[in-house]
């Protein structure tokens, strides 16, 4: 089988799912301002929201990350992918599951697990795909032709191991218990889905792309080590911070708050390392084209989201921000702002290599970056401002609930407007990548392929 087929399949497919997910997002935002739009069962707001999160997480981000790693790992390890056939089978199965899952969600056949709505037996099949991915990752590392494992490999190995337990706990074990105990397992899953799947995979990709793109060695090896080993210890404790002031044991809340705060350590280690690499790169060329820009902005969003997290977990701050639009803004900045930016940078980097020619248009890539970034800043900001307004409005018992909702009208309009620009800029990205793969443009030269040895 041709080398990198699996990577190509998954990257193209993930770009399509990205569009589907953003469509669901914009429709949901529309329903917040005009709730009577599309008033039918299959387009009701909660169904769209479930589809938005699941397609984004599994269809776009996880798939893009897996596809990128299928390409990156063999290059780091100077070998071939362990089994291209297994990769292709897994990519096919995974996409079939995703389509079936989307249909189930639209029909309302769902689990009560946030981010894990995909019902049985499809969720078991997702786990099967994950095991197939794990076999390929471990196999590729085992047949490597270099002695040392690079940082990206540590993070990928970690993600593969951690996610297996996190996914099974959240999707299968949680269904066997009830009440607050179930809630605890579900939030363990929800939080670690972000923290132990998308964080390590995104950071792994950035650890490869930043030094490679800037042609500069990574700033500090020691910081890489601190970042990795501390995150593997502290992240997993934090799930219960979604239930602060709620009915679960007080000690569990306190534990999650303490560990949420200690997350500042690994995050700062990683960010210092990334910025340090940017700072030591040649000045003239370090921001050329969309790739370094996306990596830089993704890192900036990563700082913001990871500083918000620990402070939101403090009891007094949580009283205002929890359950409001603020949290929606926070989640968007982590998954869209930080990790989708890294994934898009990865797609811009790997797609031309897979196609064997240059990116269709760097200018279009720059335009996509600026449109998306300039729209995403107000997008996040209105969610936070709206969330704080909402939080304080709830504190005053003189406000009826509908009055506190009315205060958010402008924020919801603004979210729709800025979301629409983000949605528009996606098409620039999609067009650029599709042209790179399939378009007919003159520049067949400069086939700067990097063949694995």
């Amino acid at each position: 089988m041709k080398q990198d087929t699996a990577a190509k399949m998954m990257i193209i497919s993930s770009c399509i799912f990205f569009g589907v997910a953003l469509t669901m997002g914009i429709l949901t935002a529309l329903k917040f301002v005009v709730p009577t739009v599309g008033d039918i069962e299959y387009l009701s707001m909660p169904r769209l929201r479930m589809l938005h999160t699941n397609v984004n997480l599994f269809g776009w981000l996880l798939q893009a990350n897996m596809g990128l790693l299928f390409w990156i790992l063999p290059r780091i390890l100077h070998t071939k992918l362990f089994s291209e056939k297994l990769g292709v089978v897994m990519a096919t199965l995974y996409n079939v599951i995703l389509v079936a899952a989307a249909v189930c969600i639209l029909m309302g056949k769902v689990k009560n697990v946030e981010y894990g709505e995909i019902p049985a037996p499809l969720d078991y099949l997702v786990a099967v795909c994950w095991v197939m991915f794990a076999v390929n990752v471990f196999g590729t590392v085992a047949i490597r032709k270099v002695k040392y494992l690079y940082v990206s490999v540590w993070y990928t190995l970690g993600a593969v191991i951690w996610t297996t337990f996190v996914y099974i706990t959240g999707n299968m074990l949680s269904q066997m218990v009830s009440g607050v105990n179930q809630a605890n397992l579900i939030w363990f899953y929800v939080h670690n889905a972000v923290g132990l799947i998308f964080t390590p995979l995104g950071v792994a990709i950035a650890y490869y792309l930043i030094p490679k793109q800037l042609n500069t060695p990574i700033y500090s090896h020691k910081l890489s080590m601190i970042g990795f080993w501390v995150i593997s210890f502290v992240y997993v404790w934090t799930g219960a911070h979604h239930m602060i002031h709620g009915p679960q044991p007080h000690w569990l809340q306190t534990v999650s708050i303490i560990f949420s705060f200690s997350l500042i350590i690994p995050v700062m280690a990683v960010i210092t390392n990334f910025f340090g690499t940017f700072a030591t790169a040649p000045r003239g060329t370090r921001m050329n084209g969309p790739i370094p820009k996306l990596l830089m902005m993704g890192t900036v969003y990563y700082i913001f989201t990871c500083l918000q997290g620990p402070f939101q977990a403090i009891r007094s701050v949580n009283e205002i921000t929890s359950k409001t639009d603020w949290v929606v803004g926070h989640a968007h900045m982590a998954l869209f702002g930080a990790f989708s930016y890294y994934a898009m940078a990865g797609v811009y980097y790997v797609a031309p290599k897979l196609a064997g020619r240059k990116l269709f248009s760097d200018k279009l890539g720059d335009l996509h970056f600026w449109m998306m970034t300039l729209a995403s800043i107000p997008f996040f900001a209105v969610l936070w401002i709206g969330g704080v307004i909402q939080g304080f409005a709830w504190l005053n018992p003189a406000n009826t609930f509908v009055e506190t909702l009315e205060a958010l009208k402008h924020a919801h309009w603004m979210r729709l407007a800025s979301g629409a620009v983000i949605f528009g800029s996606y098409f620039l990205f999609f067009y650029n990548i599709m042209q790179t793969f399939f378009g007919k443009y003159g520049e067949e030269v400069a086939a700067e392929t990097e063949v694995a040895e």
Binding site: P35, E114, F138, V141, G158, G179, S232, S256
Partner: protein, 195 residues
């Protein structure tokens, strides 16, 4: 002696990453129900759901009500006062109240109000009209009309069959009733729940 070099070994990296993770994973998932049995055990009588209410729970889940409505009165004055009713504050939610919930709907987002103590606050007739059209509840509830018409962004669930709305309402009327919280100053039950 050969130096132990983690970065050269697939096994050491993988095992190390797993062990570091396993400490926190075990202490936050397996240990809590052992240390705090109130997470799954109740000393008080807890309502067993009827067939109809269980169907209602399935509808509540597949319609995704939880994405806008939490089911927890937090340990905050603002929550207790806002979700109280007719001059009685809502008591905070306690973990034993949920032990029979095979599907928990504690939730993380409040676009609409909390539903932890909503059972008995509104008549089933009110719920019927509200599910059909949250922005125009008809002639029977004229005083609700003005502000709801303008502001509510709840989707209309008019596509549910009559039977489904009955099932869903039956479930909603149980919420928060494991604790008989409608009591006067002397602790005597008021028994003023709506049917």
């Amino acid at each position: 002696m050969k130096k132990l070099d983690v970065e050269r070994s697939l096994i050491l990296t993988a095992v190390g990453a797993f062990l570091f993770f396993a400490v926190g994973a075990a202490l936050t998932t397996i240990v809590p129900p052992m240390v705090s049995p109130q997470m799954w055990h109740s000393d008080h009588p807890v309502h067993e759901y009827t067939e109809q209410e269980l169907r209602g729970i399935d509808i509540y889940r597949s319609e995704g009500c939880v994405y806008c409505h939490t089911q927890q009165v937090r340990k905050l004055d603002s929550d207790r006062r806002r979700y109280g009713w007719r001059l009685v504050e809502a008591p905070e939610s306690e973990s034993w109240e949920y032990v029979n919930d095979r599907n928990n709907f504690l939730g993380t987002k409040r676009t609409g109000p909390d539903l932890a103590r909503v059972g008995g606050k509104y008549s089933s007739e009110w719920h019927w009209a509200h599910f059909k059209d949250p922005r125009n509840m008809g002639e029977k509830f004229p005083n609700r009309k003005g502000i709801y018409e303008k502001v509510s962004i709840m989707p209309s669930f008019a596509y549910l069959t009559d039977e489904e709305i009955h099932d869903l309402t039956a479930y909603i009327q149980t919420l928060g009733r494991n604790k008989n919280w409608r009591v006067d100053k002397n602790g005597k039950p008021l028994n003023d729940y709506e049917k």
